[in-house]
């Protein structure tokens, strides 16, 4: 458990979408989490688990259906549009696709400078200096900053996006699959950069990804989501050594290890992922769980922490 101050506290967040006709998609269904200052919290899960939706909801890019989001003690839900807009200086987002995260009509300089222009930070000269410095930090020469995004590779664009996210000195950044669209060797560059930023500038991350190997590399704590629910939350090492929830166990064992000698005991998952429009009753995982009991079919398990801060939502744990 981190002793650092709590930066963000999200309580019982729900985000429902109206589907076809009467259907309601419960993308995020009662999720709570805590993010400490300077911490990297990894959020993993497969498609339809709601992790991207949760990330956006925490920043109020999507309005939560229910729940409260406390940033430094202040509830973001109550803020007016204007107040929320000003809050955005402190919390930024990095998106998945580096190819569409940058306005193709703005130069690199203009894109990175945009937050400063919006919040009217500093004079024109100061803004330019700040941008130049930040772009240098992420690895760009001065002549490159006048170019357009399409002249750069995916990895370079993602670094521009990171520069833009950092320029207003936020306290935390939600990263939605920041390296998934990048090549393996480029991923390493971007991940190293993000690690440096975390260590040197104390920026906290909510690192959303489906790739557990990547998440393991950057996170302090990791939360696992399944169909809109959080099923497990623990410190990084603890989760990998001692996964308690059957889904986490299956997930961990499915990851192919880049080593032909290592044989992993696969925990097979039966059946297919249910549709988020029609999630199963009770514990949402019971349809694929080989340990499912009668209670699992009827009653949704509560999320409980043990003495070490390892939380899990399972009747059998």
């Amino acid at each position: 458990m981190s002793d650092e101050k709590v930066l963000l506290q999200a309580n019982h967040i729900k985000k429902y979408f109206q589907g076809q006709g009467r259907n309601v998609v419960k993308a995020v269904d009662d999720v709570s989490l805590t993010l400490h200052q300077g911490e990297t919290l990894g959020l993993v899960g497969e498609s339809g688990c709601g992790k991207s939706t949760l990330g956006r909801t925490l920043l109020r890019l999507l309005e939560p259906t229910e729940g409260e989001i406390l940033y430094n003690g202040q509830n973001l839900i109550g803020l007016s549009r204007k107040e929320m807009r000003l809050m955005r200086q402190n919390m930024q987002m990095i998106f998945q696709n580096p190819y569409s995260s940058l306005n193709p009509r703005m130069t690199v300089l203009e894109s990175v400078r945009a937050p400063l222009d919006i919040f009217k930070i500093g004079t024109k000269e100061e803004r330019f200096e700040k941008c130049r410095e930040m772009l240098k930090y992420v690895g760009f020469e001065e002549y490159q900053i006048y170019r357009y995004p399409h002249e750069f590779s995916g990895g370079q664009r993602q670094r521009i996006v990171i520069a833009r996210a950092l320029i207003s000195s936020p306290n935390f950044i939600v990263c939605d699959e920041p390296v998934s669209a990048l090549d393996v060797s480029v991923r390493a560059q971007v991940l190293n950069l993000m690690r440096d930023i975390n260590k040197q500038r104390g920026v906290a991350y909510l690192f959303i990804s489906h790739d557990l190997s990547v998440v393991k590399h950057v996170s302090d704590r990791i939360a696992v989501m399944y169909l809109g629910n959080m099923v497990e939350l623990a410190e990084c090492e603890e989760l990998y050594r001692n996964p308690k929830h059957p889904y986490t166990q299956a997930l961990l064992s499915s990851i192919p290890i880049p080593d032909p000698d290592v044989k992993v005991d696969r925990v097979p998952l039966e059946g297919d992922l249910p549709s988020p429009m029609n999630p199963p009753e009770g514990c949402r995982f019971h349809t694929r769980c080989k340990y499912a009991t009668e209670r699992c079919r009827k009653e949704r398990p509560e999320f409980k922490f043990d003495a070490n801060g390892h939380g899990v939502a399972c009747h059998l744990c």
Partner: protein, 291 residues
């Protein structure tokens, strides 16, 4: 120092776009023809004496030759002079009315696409209303009510032609709004206005340029059509349309082709060239299309 750097950024993009346009051969040729045409129309009357209004006594329906490059019309006026002056009217009506339509239609499309909901409903219903009226009938009615003149015509064509811009911009904005960089702008705290003007609009303009060129061409034709019917610009002011009107009698049609063929030919050439230039513009302005 700073402004120098800013200029550099603009120039890179424009230089890139110009380069791409230049490589689009058809558009370049069309542009050259149009520029030549415009230069002639604007400057020739300043160099040589051209009189489209006076009748030259005794020179009725004279075939091309000598003093009259394109001959004279039934009333003895110099056809060539009328072509030149007629071009002024036709082109200015065409361009200005297209600009008016764009100034109305583009912002409406932007608002409808960005806000959706009630605003979208109102704007699109307006579009439906305007589009469901037969254009020609409305034009005729308005022209008759307000009186036929160059100004009226420009206004009428401008006020009726905005709907295609709105629809186009609306559908482009729908897709551009979903782009991640717009969401990213929102997450960095941009206001709605900034999102619309700085992020969405520049990326939605490409179809506008194409529509603009077609609109100019279309308006030139509309004006010509109305003038041909006698409901547009009134004689003695020449326009290409009312010059083609002379082709209504069989004898002129067959035996005095110089009275209407020049106007028709120059009209066709102009419209076709404008269309090609529009195509070239669209390709040049999209940084992702490879030419």
């Amino acid at each position: 120092m700073k402004t120098e750097k800013n200029n550099k950024t603009r120039n890179v993009f424009i230089k890139d776009a110009v380069g791409r346009f230049v490589r689009h051969k058809v558009a370049m040729v069309s542009l050259c023809i149009l520029v030549f045409e415009i230069l002639v129309i604007v400057f020739l009357p300043l160099i040589i004496k051209l009189d489209p209004y006076s009748s030259y006594p005794g020179q009725f329906g004279v075939a091309p030759g000598g003093q009259f490059i394109f001959g004279t019309d039934d009333v003895g006026r110099d056809v060539f002079a009328r072509i030149i002056y007629g071009g002024r009217v036709s082109l200015s009506v065409g361009f200005i009315s297209a600009i008016i339509s764009a100034c109305i239609g583009v912002p409406l499309g932007l608002l409808a696409g960005f806000y959706r909901g009630v605003i979208r409903g109102i704007i699109m219903r307006l579009v439906d209303i305007f589009m469901s009226f037969p254009a020609l009938v409305i034009q005729l009615v308005l022209v008759m009510v307000l009186g036929a003149s160059e100004r009226t015509l420009t206004l009428v064509l401008g006020l009726l032609g905005w709907t295609s811009y709105t629809r186009l911009v609306y559908s482009k904005v729908l897709s551009v709004k979903e782009e991640i960089y717009v969401e990213a702008a929102k997450s960095t705290g941009a206001t709605d206005f900034t999102q619309m003007v700085k992020y969405i609009l520049p990326n939605s303009l490409a179809p506008v340029f194409v529509t603009f060129s077609f609109a100019v061409a279309g308006n030139i034709l509309a004006e010509s059509g109305l003038s041909f019917l006698g409901l547009g610009v009134q004689l003695p002011t020449p326009t290409w349309g009312n010059m083609i009107r002379d082709a209504q009698t069989v004898s002129t049609l067959m035996y005095r082709p110089w009275m209407w063929i020049p106007a028709g030919v120059v009209l066709v050439i102009t419209v076709v060239c404008i269309n090609f230039v529009g195509d070239g513009l669209r390709a040049a302005l999209d940084p992702k299309i490879k030419i």
